[in-house]
């Protein structure tokens, strides 16, 4: 709270006076809110919108890139797998279409061919020729399978029907995963034979498991029923069912995102491999792939947050600064207006006083002459000469006339300064003139006034009207602060060579330390409810400034207050007018 109070701008606690005109224009807080809100909306909305759009576009690009690379990877692996099968299928084709092929009759020849195939291509385990009856006539390989009857096996029926066949991976009676590749060929006796080769799956198992796939990815083959045909890293063992969905048939490579019920979202790419029962699947973890995006996103959000914070700071600072400047100018303007009003009022009162004094002077002069004449007549006529009562009455009339004359002269003297600007004045005379108006009050309230003026104080070239207003205001304040039997000290000394120092000190109630800082602020008054406008000292401050001087105050509660005013001995009329214009 203390920190908030320290940074709180001056206008924040500004109160609008009830019934003041144009009240809405002086609601500085509302102006500040409006400035902050409008600027923030105009600046931040496009920034946040752009950042959001960029966020979405970058994310979309990233996701597209993942799909594209996955699709490319699936296509490349598919090509290798297809090539593997095509190569072996073509080799077997070549054998069965070779005119010298008589392997169904010659076991030694078949063994030799198997040996050549192993050397040239690899992956072949055994080779056999089956007669139309389904009985394997000739066999070359590690097992003794000559004479084995395949007539009831599905693959045999399939190859007889379609001419070629590649089986799923199966263990068979050997208990080793393998694939059977079979081709139907015309035999020399006009019937047909089936060439059957067993392929070791290790060859393409290696092909898939050695692939390095980003995003902790996995590449494997499944058959159309979803049974794994090759080992996987994290999706099950060979011949187990996969937990992933079996993708629908498509003639081309496809990639789709998929989120399991538990675990990370996945990106799955697949391709049905033509003429085989296999589907190639590549599975990647999306979160792993999006890690690069996470960094970008973090940077984007950080940048946005810092930008927003900075912009908000600048907006808040700017709005506060500007509204405060408006507030300060407004306050200055109000004080100036009041000062002008005050000066005009004083000038009007001055003119009124002068008029009244002049008007009274004429009948006063008549009273003076008539009473004088009466006295003259009495003095020349012997019967009245010694009438002390009559003479006393006349002297009393003449004395009162003289007193009235002095009052009117003082009024005229005070008013005389109102319209004149710079003139040569004796500050002591000005002080005494002002005190002349307050003497009676001082007498009634037993206030002792002491005036101490340094010897050889030069006359001042200044605006006597303003000077007497300054002195009158401060002495009036002092009178208000003092109890009966108070002491008022007025002291004038030289300050350096070009200034005089005027001190007006009272032993009144004093001003508290917190109020002391604000006494020159406009509308600040401790005399609330007692007709105090809170403008007296602020106007005095302005007047002293116009005279080219400075005013300071020192005070202690219940001990008294002292105002010290420094004024230049000489002020040029031009300078004073300038200072008025800026006030």
């Amino acid at each position: 709270m203390r920190f908030l109070n320290r940074i709180k701008p001056a206008f924040w606690d500004h109160r609008i006076l009830n019934g003041a005109p144009y009240r809405s224009q002086f609601n500085f807080r509302r102006t500040w809110y409006a400035a902050v809100f409008v600027t923030s909306a105009v600046v931040l909305a496009p920034l946040i919108f752009m950042a959001f759009m960029d966020y979405r576009a970058t994310r979309h690009d990233m996701e597209s890139e993942i799909l594209l690379t996955t699709s490319r990877l699936v296509s490349n692996i598919r090509r290798s797998i297809s090539y593997f099968f095509d190569e072996r299928k073509s080799a077997l084709h070549f054998l069965v279409h070779d005119n010298n092929f008589k392997m169904d009759e010659n076991p030694r020849r078949l063994a030799q061919v198997l040996e050549n195939l192993k050397k040239s291509f690899g992956g072949f385990t055994d080779l056999g020729c089956i007669r139309p009856s389904g009985i394997q006539g000739v066999y070359a390989g590690p097992y003794n399978l000559t004479g084995k009857d395949y007539s009831n096996q599905e693959w045999f029926k399939e190859v007889v029907k379609r001419g070629a066949f590649i089986s799923d991976v199966f263990s068979g009676f050997r208990h080793v995963p393998h694939i059977v590749m079979a081709l139907k060929f015309p035999s020399s006796d006009g019937s047909f034979g089936v060439l059957r080769a067993t392929l070791d799956t290790g060859k393409f198992d290696n092909l898939l498991s050695n692939l390095e796939i980003d995003g902790h990815g996995d590449a494997f083959l499944v058959n159309h029923k979803g049974v794994l045909q090759t080992p996987t890293r994290s999706h099950g063992k060979v011949l187990e069912r996969i937990s992933l969905p079996i993708p629908d048939f498509a003639p081309e490579t496809r990639v789709f995102p998929w989120t399991p019920k538990t675990g990370d979202p996945l990106v799955i790419g697949y391709r049905y491999i033509t003429d085989t029962p296999f589907i190639l699947m590549v599975v990647k973890h999306k979160q792993e792939l999006m890690k690069a995006w996470d960094n970008t996103r973090k940077e984007l959000i950080e940048f946005l947050a810092i930008s927003v914070a900075f912009i908000l700071f600048v907006i808040l600072w700017g709005a506060t600064y500007l509204v405060n400047r408006i507030y300060e100018s407004d306050q200055k303007l109000i004080v100036s207006l009041h000062q002008v009003e005050y000066t005009n009022k004083m000038a009007s009162i001055g003119r009124l006083a002068a008029g009244v004094a002049h008007e009274i002077n004429n009948p006063l002069a008549i009273i003076n002459e008539k009473a004088g004449l009466m006295k003259d007549l009495f003095l020349f006529k012997k019967e009245y000469q010694k009438n002390q009562v009559l003479m006393g009455l006349l002297d009393s009339i003449l004395g009162s006339v003289t007193r009235c004359g002095k009052i009117t002269k003082r009024l005229l003297g005070f008013a005389r300064h109102m319209d004149v600007s710079v003139q040569t004045v004796n500050i002591e005379e000005v002080i005494r003139e002002v005190l002349g108006f307050l003497n009676k009050e001082a007498e009634y309230r037993s206030i002792r006034i002491s005036i101490e003026v340094a010897e050889n104080l030069p006359n001042m070239d200044t605006d006597a009207g303003r000077l007497q207003q300054v002195i009158l205001n401060i002495i009036n304040n002092a009178f208000a602060a003092m109890e009966n039997n108070g002491n008022l000290r007025v002291k004038v000394v030289m300050e350096g060579e070009k200034d005089i120092l005027l001190t007006i000190a009272d032993d009144g109630c004093g001003i508290s330390e917190t109020d002391l800082k604000r006494v020159f602020e406009p509308f600040f008054s401790t005399k609330t409810g007692n007709g105090g406008t809170g403008l007296g000292l602020s106007i005095t401050y302005g007047l002293v400034e116009q005279l080219g001087g400075t005013i300071n105050v020192k005070s202690e509660l219940n001990r008294g207050t002292a105002f010290t005013i420094t004024l230049p001995l000489t002020i040029k009329e031009k300078e004073m007018k300038n200072s008025c214009a800026y006030s």
Binding site: A357, H358, A365, E369, K370, L373, G405, K409, L412
Partner: protein, 119 residues
């Protein structure tokens, strides 16, 4: 010594003239500039006491007019407006011999008149 008093307040000049007569001074009075000029045409005066503010013509202008026509005439101004300082400065400017503030002290007036005439 013959003096002319000019002030728009008839009662004032009338009484003042009477008081001066008691003191052995021949005093005439007028309430307007024109009447004052007529008096001057009829008789010779040593001194004119003028109010600064007069109806029609100001005391200052009347002073100029009289001074031009009667260079030997001496002048004293009376005024109900302003302070001593002002008119001390003012008399130097206008060439008038003395300024007196209303209400006028008869002794002061006598004193100034004697000083002027004695010069």
């Amino acid at each position: 010594m013959r003096i002319l008093l000019v002030d728009d307040e008839q009662e004032l000049v009338e009484t003042l003239a009477e008081r001066l007569s008691i003191r052995g001074i021949e005093a005439r009075w007028a309430t307007t500039g024109d009447a004052a000029m007529k008096f001057l045409e009829q008789k010779s005066f040593d001194l004119a006491v003028l109010d600064v503010k007069l109806p029609g013509i100001s005391g200052i202008d009347l002073h100029g007019k009289m001074k031009a026509k009667y260079p030997d005439l001496k002048f004293i101004f009376m005024t109900g407006h302003g302070s001593q300082d002002d008119y001390a400065a003012g008399s130097a400017e206008t060439g008038a011999d003395y300024y007196l503030l209303k209400p006028v002290n008869i002794e002061k007036l006598m004193d100034k008149m004697k000083k002027l005439m004695g010069r």
